[in-house]
C-alpha cells in the first residue's frame, strides 16, 4: 500500500488522460463552442439588428447560450467511459469517488467553460455590450461555468446508464441551473446599467463553493448506482 498515489497525482492523471482523449477528438471538443457562437448569432437575426434592443438582451442571451452549450457537452463526461467499461475500473481505484467526479467536472470545464471565456468578449461586442459589462460578464462566466459543470455531473451520473438519457438530462439539469442564470445574467445587466454588482458576484462565488464541496459527492453516489 506504500506506493499508493496521492490524491493530487490521481486528480492530475485523470485530467491529463481526459484532455488527451479530447485532443484526439478535436472536432467533438469544438462542437459546443461552435454551438455557442451560432445560438448567439441567431438572436440578432431573429430580433433585428437594433443596437439598443440587442444591448438590453445581451446578458440573458449570452448566459442562456452558455447554459445550453455547457449542457450539450455534458453527456461526453462519462458516456464513452461507461460504454467501454473503464468507468467501472475507475470506480475501483483506491481513491474516493469524489476525486474521480471532481476530475471529470474539471475537465468538462476546461473544455467547455474556459474557451467560452475567450469567445464571450467577441460575442458581447457583437451584441453592443459596453466595456465594463464585458469585464463583469467574464467574471460571472469564470465563477458560474464551473458550477454548471459540477451540477451537470450529477445529472450525467444519474442518466449515464440509460439508453436515451439526452433529453432526460436536460429536464433534470436545467431547473437546477436557474440560480446561476439569474445571478450571472443579473450581474451583467446591472453592470450595463452602471450599478454595483458585488452582491451577485458574491452569491455566484458562494454557489461555486457550495457546488465544489457537495456536487461531486452526490454525483459519486449517483455513479455508483448507475454502474451497478
Amino acid at each position: 500500500m506504500s506506493e499508493r498515489p496521492g490524491i493530487m497525482s490521481t486528480l492530475g492523471a485523470l485530467i491529463r488522460r481526459d484532455l488527451l482523449l479530447a485532443l484526439r477528438r478535436r472536432a467533438q471538443a469544438l462542437n459546443p463552442l461552435v454551438f455557442f457562437v451560432i445560438v448567439v448569432t441567431l438572436f440578432p437575426l431573429g430580433l433585428g439588428p437594433e443596437p439598443n434592443l440587442l444591448q438590453k438582451l445581451a446578458p440573458g442571451v449570452l448566459w442562456v447560450a452558455a447554459l445550453l452549450s455547457a449542457m450539450l457537452s455534458l453527456e461526453a463526461m462519462f458516456h464513452s467511459d461507461f460504454e467501454d467499461g473503464s468507468l467501472e475500473q475507475l470506480l475501483l481505484i483506491p481513491q474516493p469517488v469524489f476525486i474521480i467526479v471532481l476530475a471529470k467536472a474539471l475537465t468538462h470545464w476546461l473544455l467547455s467553460g474556459l474557451p467560452l471565456l475567450l469567445l464571450a468578449p467577441l460575442l458581447a461586442l457583437w451584441l453592443h455590450l459596453p466595456g465594463e459589462a464585458i469585464l463583469v460578464l467574464l467574471i460571472t462566466l469564470a465563477l458560474g461555468a464551473p458550477v454548471l459543470s459540477l451540477i451537470g455531473a450529477i445529472g450525467v451520473a444519474l442518466t449515464v446508464g440509460l439508453r436515451r438519457g439526452g433529453v432526460l438530462l436536460s429536464l433534470l439539469v436545467l431547473p437546477l441551473y436557474i440560480p446561476v442564470l439569474i445571478m450571472g445574467a443579473g450581474a451583467v445587466d446591472s453592470a450595463a446599467m452602471g450599478l454595483s454588482v458585488g452582491a451577485q458576484l458574491s452569491i455566484l462565488g458562494a454557489l461555486l463553493a457550495f457546488a465544489v464541496t457537495l456536487a461531486p459527492w452526490a454525483a459519486g453516489a449517483a455513479l455508483r448506482i448507475s454502474v451497478e
Binding site: 450529477i154 444519474l158 442518466t159 446508464g161 440509460l162 436515451r164 438519457g165 432526460l168 429536464l171 433534470l172 436545467l174 431547473p175 437546477l176 436557474i178 440560480p179 439569474i182 445571478m183 443579473g186 446591472s190 452569491i203 454557489l207 457537495l214 452526490a218 453516489a221 449517483a222 448506482i225 448507475s226 451497478e228
Partner: protein
C-alpha cells in the same frame, strides 16, 4: 421504536393497518373540506379590494403549501429509502411525486386565474408563481427519471439522489427567484397575508388541514395499490386476491400468464 418502524415498514403490516385507518382519514378529510369550502365560499366576507375573487385563495394557498410540503416529504422519504433500504419509503416517495406535481399544477392554474382580475394578466412573473413553475419542472424531472429505469430498485435509488439534490436546491432557487423579481419589478404585487382577518384565516387554515389530509388519503390509497402490485408474487397478496375473487379465477389467470 426501531421495532415499530421495522414492523410498519413491512408491506403486509402496512397494508392491514392502513386499510383500517383509511376510512377515518377519508371521512375527516371530506368533513374538513366541506366545512372549509362552506366557510370560505359562503360564510366569509368578500375582500374590500379584491371582492369575490379573494375566494380563490382558499384553494390556491393550501395547494401551494401542499406542493412544497410534499416535495420535502418526498425527498425525506427517498433519503430514508436510500439510507436504510426500506422498501415502503421508496414506494411513498415514488407515489408522492405525481400527487405533488398535481397540487403544483392546481396552484399554477388557480394562481393564473386569480392573476387575471388582480393584475390584469393571466400570467405575471411574480416570484411565488415562478418558483412554483420551477418546482413543477423539478417534479417532472423526478417522475421522468423514475420512469426511465426498468429496475425498480435502481429507479428508487437514482431518483432519491435527485430528490435530495433538488431539496437542497429548492431554497436557493426560491431566494434567487425572489431576488430576481425584486430587481425587475420594484412594485409589490404580493397579497398581504400577515394582515389577514380572522374571518378569512379560519376557513384558510381549515382548508389547509383538509388538503394535507387529502394528500394523506391519496398517498395511502396509491401506496396500498403499489404495495399490492410489487408484492403480487408473495403469498399474502395471493391469499388476499383469492379471498376476493375465488380460486378458479386466479388459477386461470395464472395459467394464462
Amino acid at each position: 421504536m426501531w421495532l415499530w418502524i421495522h414492523k410498519f415498514g413491512s408491506p403486509k403490516y402496512f397494508y392491514n393497518v392502513s386499510g383500517k385507518i383509511l376510512p377515518w382519514v377519508a371521512g375527516a378529510t371530506a368533513l374538513l373540506i366541506v366545512i372549509g369550502l362552506y366557510l370560505g365560499l359562503f360564510a366569509s366576507p368578500a375582500d374590500y379590494q379584491q371582492r369575490e375573487t379573494v375566494r380563490i385563495m382558499y384553494i390556491h394557498v393550501p395547494s401551494a403549501w401542499n406542493s412544497m410540503f410534499i416535495y420535502l416529504l418526498m425527498a425525506a422519504s427517498a433519503a430514508i429509502g436510500l439510507i436504510w433500504n426500506i422498501k415502503l419509503a421508496d414506494i411513498v416517495a415514488a407515489v408522492s411525486a405525481p400527487i405533488g406535481a398535481s397540487f403544483t399544477f392546481i396552484t399554477l392554474v388557480t394562481g393564473s386565474l386569480w392573476g387575471k382580475p388582480m393584475w390584469g394578466t393571466w400570467w405575471e412573473w411574480d416570484a411565488r408563481l415562478t418558483s412554483e413553475l420551477i418546482l413543477l419542472f423539478l417534479y417532472l424531472g423526478y417522475i421522468a427519471l423514475q420512469s426511465a429505469f426498468e429496475d425498480r430498485r435502481l429507479a428508487a435509488r437514482a431518483s432519491a439522489v435527485l430528490a435530495i439534490v433538488g431539496a437542497v436546491n429548492v431554497p436557493i432557487i426560491y431566494y434567487s427567484v425572489q431576488w430576481w423579481n425584486t430587481l425587475h419589478q420594484p412594485q409589490s404585487l404580493g397579497v398581504g397575508m400577515s394582515t389577514i382577518h380572522p374571518s378569512m384565516l379560519w376557513p384558510l387554515l381549515i382548508m389547509a388541514l383538509g388538503f394535507k389530509l387529502l394528500y394523506v388519503v391519496i398517498l395511502l390509497m396509491r401506496t396500498r395499490a403499489e404495495v399490492l402490485e410489487r408484492e403480487r408474487n408473495n403469498a399474502w397478496v395471493q391469499e388476499l386476491a383469492q379471498a376476493l375473487v375465488g380460486k378458479s379465477v386466479i388459477g386461470s389467470a395464472n395459467e394464462y400468464r
